[in-house]
């Protein structure tokens, strides 16, 4: 591949990372994985429930998709570190999508707890992919403590509002020495394309696909959008102008 997507030295075959939350069934997860061509999916860690039938891990295995455990629901650095440690023992991966949210109403990252948890997990040997605010300064600090990527939100989790502050996302991208993955807020395909056009290296989304009326079709749309957005970024878009500029020659007009 002439444009590889690499995180922590591992090449992933797709710039689209899927969350599996919100899908009505494992069958739907299975269909969306097939349609998306994704190479990595997030899972959450929860108490074993004897009544659960089937396993998300079996579905991911079947598609050869890398599993990325998250620390969803954690509110403190301590909880998040413990959850990451459990995930490492359960899934035998030291990769973790680090989420430390401030409250249930906003689901916004708590920057203080997030940075503390990231530093501790890096020290414990984890490959840390933090879900963060669209704050260029926090993104810089997360890189400084050794995170393998930064994953700023486009808008709050589950809102589908797209990218509310594209200037900040561009700023984060311009300073980044690690991959930038737009995480949260994607509503439809054009949002995902915009993320890549702004220079993000990838997109992580869940609800936009799992809660779409036709999840597999939306997964396919997202894959196409990510591909198109990346191509457009590499192609170099024209600068925006305030006035018209003819594309046809102005010389050689016939006198009529």
């Amino acid at each position: 591949m002439d444009d590889p997507f690499v995180i922590a030295g591992v090449e992933l075959g797709s710039r689209l990372i899927l969350g599996t939350g919100g899908a009505p069934s494992l069958q739907v997860v299975d269909e969306t994985l097939a349609a998306s061509g994704t190479a990595m999916c997030t899972v959450a860690m929860r108490r074993v429930d004897a009544g659960t039938s089937g396993s998300i891990l079996e579905v991911l295995d079947r598609h050869g998709v890398r599993v990325l455990p998250n620390t969803a629901g954690c509110r403190t650095a301590r909880e998040a570190v413990r959850t990451a440690q459990l995930a490492r023992e359960a899934l035998e991966t030291d990769w973790v999508k680090l989420e430390v949210v401030a409250d249930e109403r906003t689901l916004l990252p708590d920057p203080v707890e997030l940075l503390d948890a990231a530093a501790e997990l890096v020290g414990l040997g984890f490959t840390v992919l933090p879900y963060t605010n669209d704050d260029p300064v926090l993104a810089r600090r997360l890189q400084q403590v050794g995170c393998a990527a930064v994953m700023p939100l486009g808008s709050p989790i589950g809102t589908g509002l797209g990218i509310r502050n594209p200037d900040n996302i561009e700023l984060i991208v311009s300073e980044a020495r690690v991959p930038v993955i737009l995480d949260a807020g994607i509503g439809t395909a054009s949002d995902a394309a915009l993320a890549l056009e702004l220079g993000c290296d990838g997109v992580l989304l869940a609800s936009a696909v799992t809660r779409a009326q036709h999840p597999a079709r939306m997964a396919e749309a997202m894959a196409a959008a990510v591909h198109a957005g990346r191509l457009a970024r590499r192609a170099g878009r024209i600068p925006r102008r305030h006035h018209a500029q003819a594309s046809s020659p102005t010389e050689g007009m016939a006198v009529l």
């Binding site: 997860v29 108490r47 599993v67 995930a87 989790i157």
Partner: protein, 66 residues
């Protein structure tokens, strides 16, 4: 003896080790992990980790999540 597993009391034989408890609760050791009294126990220690009466055990696995 009795240990607390995921918030519910559970009778286990004396000398029960963590790997036996995880296998009994989760059905398999694969894809699961445990914390005892809030401390995560590394997978390699499970078979030699004796449980004691009254301990709190959390056994977790992967579920669908964003």
């Amino acid at each position: 003896m009795t240990v607390d597993v995921n918030g519910s009391p559970r009778n286990v034989p004396p000398g029960c080790t963590l790997d036996a408890l995880i296998a009994a609760v989760a059905g398999s050791l694969r894809g699961s992990a445990a914390a005892v009294d809030g401390e995560v126990v590394p997978r390699g220690e499970w078979e030699h980790f004796p449980l004691a009466d009254g301990q709190q055990v959390e056994i977790i696995t992967a579920v669908q999540g964003g």
